[in-house]
């Protein structure tokens, strides 16, 4: 079989699967939004849909591979979907032209604050939680050592423990 002969069916099959899954996502989104507007929910339908799908995935009621391709495509093309709302801002062109420079300068300063502040905080938090995780793992290993003193993988630690005792 030629290269294309083997490649083409798999690509077509994947694209078709992705398309069907995307349609599924659209129908589900439409259903969620209709229900959300009907009960005038303060949380938008799309976020409710996200929660429901996550729950179904966690309960294994929906297998991951049945939504995987569609979800990957939707997320990869996100930029395409938010271009139209950006173009809609043309209506406010005079406003943006008047305040553009001031706005961008201010946003630059604000974004710097958010980036540095968040990164610094998370850096400190991560070091703390990583230490905690290591300690917890160490405790688990120690507990196993006490119960199974003669297994190969833990023998090294076991002898240390015995020596310490």
């Amino acid at each position: 079989m030629t290269f294309f002969g083997r490649l083409a069916p798999s690509i077509i099959k994947r694209s078709a699967l992705a398309a069907i899954q995307v349609c599924g996502f659209c129908l589900f989104a439409w259903a969620c939004q209709s229900v959300a507007t009907k009960v005038s929910s303060p949380i938008p339908g799309s976020v409710i849909g996200l929660a429901i799908l996550l729950l179904l995935l966690c309960l294994k009621l929906v297998p991951e591979k049945s939504v995987n391709l569609g979800a990957s495509w939707l997320i990869a093309e996100l930029l395409l979907f938010f271009i139209p709302p950006v173009v809609g801002a043309i209506k406010y062109q005079p406003l943006l032209a008047n305040y553009g420079v001031e706005l961008i300068a201010a946003m630059l300063a604000a974004s710097t604050l958010v980036l540095i502040g968040t990164a610094y905080t998370v850096d400190k938090l991560f070091k703390f939680e990583h230490q905690q995780n290591l300690k917890r793992q160490q405790k688990k290993v120690n507990a196993q050592v006490i119960h199974l003193p003669s297994t190969d993988s833990t023998s090294n630690l076991a002898t240390k423990e015995q020596k310490a005792a």
Partner: protein
């Protein structure tokens, strides 16, 4: 040209600009060539120079914007896929999301206090650091305008993407989780794309942070709005 033709032309323009800018970025891998900068710029230039009416632009292209809702639901899949990472660092991720969200709101609020922007702009600024599908939902709680919000969200993403690397160097941020959370919380999708370029783990963490900050923002927007006013 009648209205239907203009509408179809705009849809084609949007699709062609988007896919062309993606192809260009694959060849010219420079931050300034990112599709998030080139594609909207190209479309805006054409729409403004040809003096196309916004209503005509939307006649067909609004179907693209309608895809934001299914895309939001699709975010459930990466959360599920990375559940082990979430279980491993629940504290770092949740407090990271809260810090990012708080700083995003606080910085926007200070920005509004210190500059003299008209209310449409200043109200639309509040949700600028979360992803577009969440931002356009949350902005009405603050009295913002969805279209302006989309524009400000886009600008915030581009700014974050451009300034992150020098900032990380100056602040000596090395851990991938810190870079990921900061980019996801401050620059949403653009930040996540940038983080994926820095490294796989950074990208995953940035995407998760972006999704969580978006969800929290949408749910808590009415509360934040009453606190601020």
């Amino acid at each position: 040209m009648n209205h239907i033709n203009i509408g179809l032309f705009c849809l084609a323009l949007t699709l062609v600009s988007y896919y062309a800018s993606k192809a260009l970025y694959k060849k010219q891998h420079k931050t300034w060539f990112a599709p998030i900068i080139i594609a909207p710029a190209l479309i805006l230039i054409v729409v403004v120079t040809l003096k196309i009416d916004v209503a005509d632009y939307f006649s067909y292209s609004h179907w693209l914007a309608a895809m934001l809702a299914p895309a939001t639901i699709a975010f459930a899949v990466p959360i599920y896929r990375e559940r082990l990472l979430i279980k491993q660092y629940p504290l770092t991720l949740s407090l990271g999301v809260i810090t990012g969200l708080f700083l995003g709101l606080a910085s926007s609020w200070l920005l509004v206090k210190w500059t003299h922007l008209p209310p449409e702009l200043s109200h639309s600024l509040m949700v600028r650091s979360v992803s577009t599908p969440f931002a356009v939902e949350a902005t009405t709680a603050f009295g913002g305008v969805p279209e302006l919000t989309a524009m400000l969200v886009l600008l915030t993403g581009i700014i974050g993407m451009l300034i992150c690397e020098p900032l990380f160097k100056i602040a000596k941020i090395n851990s991938s989780i810190a870079k990921g959370v900061a980019l996801g919380a401050s620059a949403h999708g653009a930040g996540a794309a940038k983080a994926t370029e820095i490294g796989r783990q950074e990208g995953v963490i940035a995407s998760l942070t972006m999704i969580f900050t978006g969800i929290v923002m949408v749910i808590a927007a009415p509360l934040f709005a009453t606190l601020i006013n």
